[in-house]
């Protein structure tokens, strides 16, 4: 009985620690976006743009199956939406321009992902998406450097 109680106390302790940590992280993330937050978001966004480009290239060269391509693109859409939510918060004054630009880039990525989903079977249309994505990658790199 004593052992069971000790075990329960330890498990409850672990859960409380996780809860406090999660609360602290969410409390921090609900504050205004700082330069460091924006840098991290921009890195994630850059990673997503690059990953989408790489996937679209494989789709264009027909190296992946249609099912895999469609599911992967949908998962990337979900990740882009998550990133969009992160950037959709009030930002501190010194990074407002960058946040605005980041929002625009994310919006364009979202549109290009939708376009890729409808062009999965068309290598020619996919080539257009890839060049648009490569332009976005360049914009994203410039944004990252300015941060």
């Amino acid at each position: 009985m004593k052992a069971l109680l000790v075990s329960i106390v330890i498990i409850v302790g672990i859960i409380i620690v996780i809860g406090i940590a999660t609360f602290a992280v969410s409390a921090m993330s609900s504050q205004k976006l700082t330069r460091q937050n924006v840098q991290q978001i921009a890195q994630n966004a850059g990673s997503l743009v690059a990953e989408t480009t790489l996937l679209d290239q494989q789709i264009q060269y027909q190296k992946v199956t249609t099912n895999y391509a469609q599911v992967y693109l949908k998962d990337l859409q979900q990740q882009v939406s998550d990133t969009e939510q992160q950037v959709d918060k009030p930002a501190s004054r010194d990074v407002q321009t960058e946040v605005k630009e980041q929002k625009q880039i994310i919006k364009q990525v979202r549109q290009l992902l939708s376009q890729s989903l409808s062009d999965v079977d068309s290598p020619i249309k996919m080539a257009k998406n890839i060049s648009a994505l490569e332009e976005l990658e360049q914009k994203q790199n410039n944004l990252l450097q300015s941060l």
């Binding site: 000790v6 498990i11 620690v17 990673s47 060269y61 027909q62 599911v71 992967y72």
Partner: protein
Amino acid sequence: MNFLDIFLGVLTAVGGFIDISNLVFNTQAGAIFHYSLLWPIVIGAIGIALYSEMAGRIAAVAKKPDFDLIRERMGFPLGMTTLIASLFITIMTCAAEIGGIAIVLRLLSALPYFFTILIAGLIILLVLWLLKFKWLERVFGFLGLFLLVLILVAFNLHPNLKLVGEGFIPQIPSHLSPPHLFSYLYFVIGVISSIIMPYNVFFYSSGGIEEHWTAKDLLTNRVSTYVGYIFGSVLAVALTIIGAIIFHPLGIQPQLLNSVALGSTIVFGKIGLIMVLLGILFAVGGAAVETSLAGAYSLSQFFGWHWGRYEKPSKTPFFTLTWIIIIVIAVLILFSGINPVSITQYAVIFSIVALPFTYIPIYLVSNDKFYMGKYVNGRITNTLGIVYLIIIVICAVTALPLFFLSQGGST
């Protein structure tokens, strides 16, 4: 000495080496830190081989499974704490593995995710109900060998062997800023922990008892663990190389299991994709079976219930009910919408915290002449055993602070 048994044991260990945590951590490690996280793979591989060999030897000579030892050596209170922590981690890991099966089924079929979770759970239940222990281990182990394609992919990407070699030297890159340093250290612990997760040892030693090992099987035990796990770790190295060559230069930090297969499509196209997806399917399927059984073994051994997959389910009611409940809970966790990759990250980090309590009794008993007679640890095994206990304790103490400081490695 049965060479066929040894050969099959090695193949099973190679095929069963990789689970969802290795797929996630090693690919991300290569993508973010290039080759500088190859050395923790070696540390993890030697550690799991060392302690699995000890646990297998104890099973063969003293006929004692892990949780029997834990209760005997630690007493009921601390043993119970270890059991609860271990079950918690095992269920989380089982959920992550079943989630991995669901993700692969979805990538292959484009069926809705929640439907594939249900199918994955049912497949594991059915397979566990129908297959005998030896077949469970071998079917998943052999079919997991599809993942060997990753080694071919890594070679075809022509890695710079000098840089790869340098990655095996223990290091902390000097150019890292404090947040990146925390992230690097978090990955060091993540990579080691993903290899030496406790369920591997529970499953392995319980398997030895299921298969009625005796002292005659000690050579098979030694070769299967050392050769099998060390060769298996080559797959983890291949994942890191693929991450380093394909994702690192593009600044991609892969967050999805889908990304793991992308590397082989670049080299081998659709055939490479299908082979990797099948390899992942059987590797994570095998791990789902192992985790659900490991949970049931732990609980049954601790409370002295009759257990074993060689018996009919009706003869081991509590044991059977436990693995069924573990799978059902795992499926329910996935239905809550939590991403299996996130569950994996939590499971890996929390498992290292509980690991010392699992490994210390194994070390003590494998060194005890009363149980082991002439089969006690040799000098080298003893020294390495102590070194690994120190490494595990350091990892256990630093795991949670690093997890929070690095925000789960995302800084």
